[in-house]
Symmetry: C2
Subunit: 407 residues, 2 copies
């Protein structure tokens, strides 16, 4: 008699992502192109790695003075301090007053997992999470699985073809008192002083708890300070908040996914209480965070020459992005593609909306084998001298003929 499996009732789980990449990989069309990689790519189509990383990796491997003991549950202290300085600036109010701290987290989800666990336990009266970003974020399920009600909104106005700060303001206005706001990529969206004032007043009066996402500081404008500058509005207004600071993409150490759950509290004592609770959660999650990524980053951040080289490498990436966007716009102009394509160059960072409608996106995917997400937000670093002509001609075709292709 065969034994009954204890796993009999376990169904095959739906994959949460990656189906576009899978279809791309299975496609054998010679011109197939994937424009949805998460990370910055080089002009040779390889994931970008800052030039300082290879050197630092070697130095670390050769360093006889390093020991490889367990790191504390909170992680590498020097890594946390260096990262906080990077995020806020060494002389920032929150650093000087010793009321910003952090826990070393693992992978791209770790900081959200840890933060969500804390909020679930210590803010039980805040069951609603709004995720506001210029793209669909993968954090939704983390909060949902813990019992939060999650609403997602993007800044992108697909009619006006721009990131619209009013969308953020509208959502805050409608949100219940005490909600949690996960805010990603706000730095890509230009808020006027009046927008900021309104936003601060609204969020304060509603006691909204901000949970920021800084996924690639420096890769948006090429300027590290500018990319995280919006945090200063919240610091100066005395907000307490969480921030997921990821440092994998802006160093190019994707396989060492490392980050920090940053905590800003009103004073040092409150901060220590929060960190102590986070430590207990981290202990149950992974106990000790892996250190290679943190070591590489700390070595770079604590060495002025290396840090300068790193900054230069970030600027290089952003210059290339801007150049590619200009070229795409120019090529579309030369092809006589209807519409203004200024919105391409007006957006910051590697990932920007092409501003295509769903028929046009479908045309590109189905007819031209150019794989892009449904919202038309592509990674411009995937465009290079080998594929730019094919891509721009295809966009032109899509704009001209997409409607005709409907069956």
């Amino acid at each position: 008699m065969p034994t009954l499996s204890v796993f009999t009732d376990v169904p095959l789980a739906k994959k949460l992502e990656g189906s576009l990449l899978k279809t791309y990989k299975q496609d054998d069309h010679p011109n197939k192109t994937f424009l949805a990689y998460k990370v910055c790519m080089t002009s040779e189509g390889q994931p970008w790695v800052s030039s300082v990383v290879h050197k630092t990796r070697m130095q670390i491997a050769q360093d006889p003075s390093l020991n490889y003991e367990y790191t504390p549950v909170t992680g590498m202290k020097s890594f946390i301090q260096a990262s906080l300085n990077l995020l806020f600036g060494k002389n920032s109010q929150v650093i000087v007053e010793n009321r910003a701290g952090g826990v070393h987290t693992v992978g791209d989800s770790g900081a959200f997992q840890l933060g969500a666990q804390f909020l679930k336990t210590w803010r039980q009266d805040s069951p609603i999470v709004y995720i506001i970003s210029s793209q669909k974020e993968p954090h939704g399920p983390i909060f949902q699985d813990m019992g939060f009600t999650v609403y997602e909104h993007t800044f992108w106005d697909s009619m006006q073809l721009c990131l619209d700060p009013n969308m953020l303001l509208n959502v805050v206005e409608q949100a219940p008192h005490g909600s949690i706001f996960v805010i990603g990529n706000i730095g890509n969206c230009t808020l006027t002083q009046s927008h900021w004032t309104q936003l601060m007043i609204l969020m304060k009066s509603k006691q909204i708890f901000p949970f920021f996402d800084i996924p690639y500081q420096g890769l948006s404008t090429g300027d590290l300070e500018e990319d995280a500058g919006f945090l200063q509005h919240f610091v100066s207004q005395g907000f307490e908040f969480f921030c997921s600071q990821s440092l994998s993409k802006n160093f190019g150490i994707y396989d060492e996914g490392v980050g920090i759950l940053v905590v800003v509290a009103l004073n040092n004592q409150l901060l220590l209480h929060v960190l102590s609770q986070l430590m207990n959660f981290a202990q149950a999650l992974w106990l000790n965070p892996p250190t290679t990524g943190a070591r590489i980053i700390t070595s770079v951040l604590c060495n002025p020459a290396m840090q300068a080289e790193w900054k230069q490498s970030l600027e290089g990436v952003v210059e290339n992005i801007m150049m590619t966007k200009e070229k795409v716009k120019e090529k579309l102009r030369l092809l006589g593609t209807p519409g203004s394509w200024d919105h391409i160059t007006e957006q910051k960072g590697s990932h920007s909306y092409l501003g295509l409608n769903s028929q046009q996106v479908e045309y590109l995917v189905r007819k031209k084998h150019i794989y892009i997400p449904k919202n038309g937000r592509i990674n411009f670093t995937c465009i290079n001298s080998y594929n730019i002509d094919y891509i721009t001609k295809s966009i032109n075709e899509a704009v001209l003929f997409a409607k005709d292709s409907e069956e």
Copy 2:
């Protein structure tokens, strides 16, 4: 008017561990000794690192062919396969029949966190977890926080001074149908064929789900196969189970905490269903596991010369442990310490019970500044030529005078 903190109600969390080490560090007695490190120490008092690790780290840093892209959510495939082969043997039934698999996990807790999340969701009728080990394990709180009722039992019989398989059998007998059993260090406990037969029958009839813990394969007997050999009993009896396979301690890459949640199912299809669900949990936990540790381990396991060197390094550690235990026993004999100290050499592995009572332990800590856990289970690799005389003399004193020291 000062703003009220959103963290006002958050208390300082109780530290879950580390207070013994903290007291040791604050002690300024010249002879202070800490015998409770988690990891194997060298005779110079440094955390042991297998000789192959440094070489491999260098090779990896120099390898121009490596890319540092995101690893898939399940982790490095080659790492998982190599680790499964290590655990079960390449020609094991479960490997050949393609019904053993795993998910690459992070740190010392990751595999338990992931496994517990799965069990909570898919075995809701199994709310009871027994943790059976030769020591108190840190996994209890992970299960407890998820709503499981947790009972902890140790194998150690402090009267008979031995690890007692009957304790395990008794617990199984009393456990409700369908309970989950986290079983650690069972390899350190010698079960006769009759014990095994009884245990298999009992566990099968009660449909108990085993969740094994293999924290340092090879560091118990010095023989990799022997250390994980007990799993074959469960494999041959057609059990389905989870196993936390940690590979940090037996390579000496403590700071790269890496492991695998191993799944054995009745067939490949069931396995794939379980792995797909685990992937979704892993995605929310960390999304992509860091790879340095996995790369080091895979390089060693897939290179026969390196693997041989690694095995030799494990044998070396275990030989040293046995030698230290013999020396301790001999020195206690020469000092005329009352009692037989055979239980020291009869126990396997780095961590073994001294067989002292609580007064004797307290005497060592308070009067002799020798820091050992309350249960008297010490790390024998912390004993070296510099401290062995002080330690054995102190044990002798404790045995002779501990009772008198009571106030």
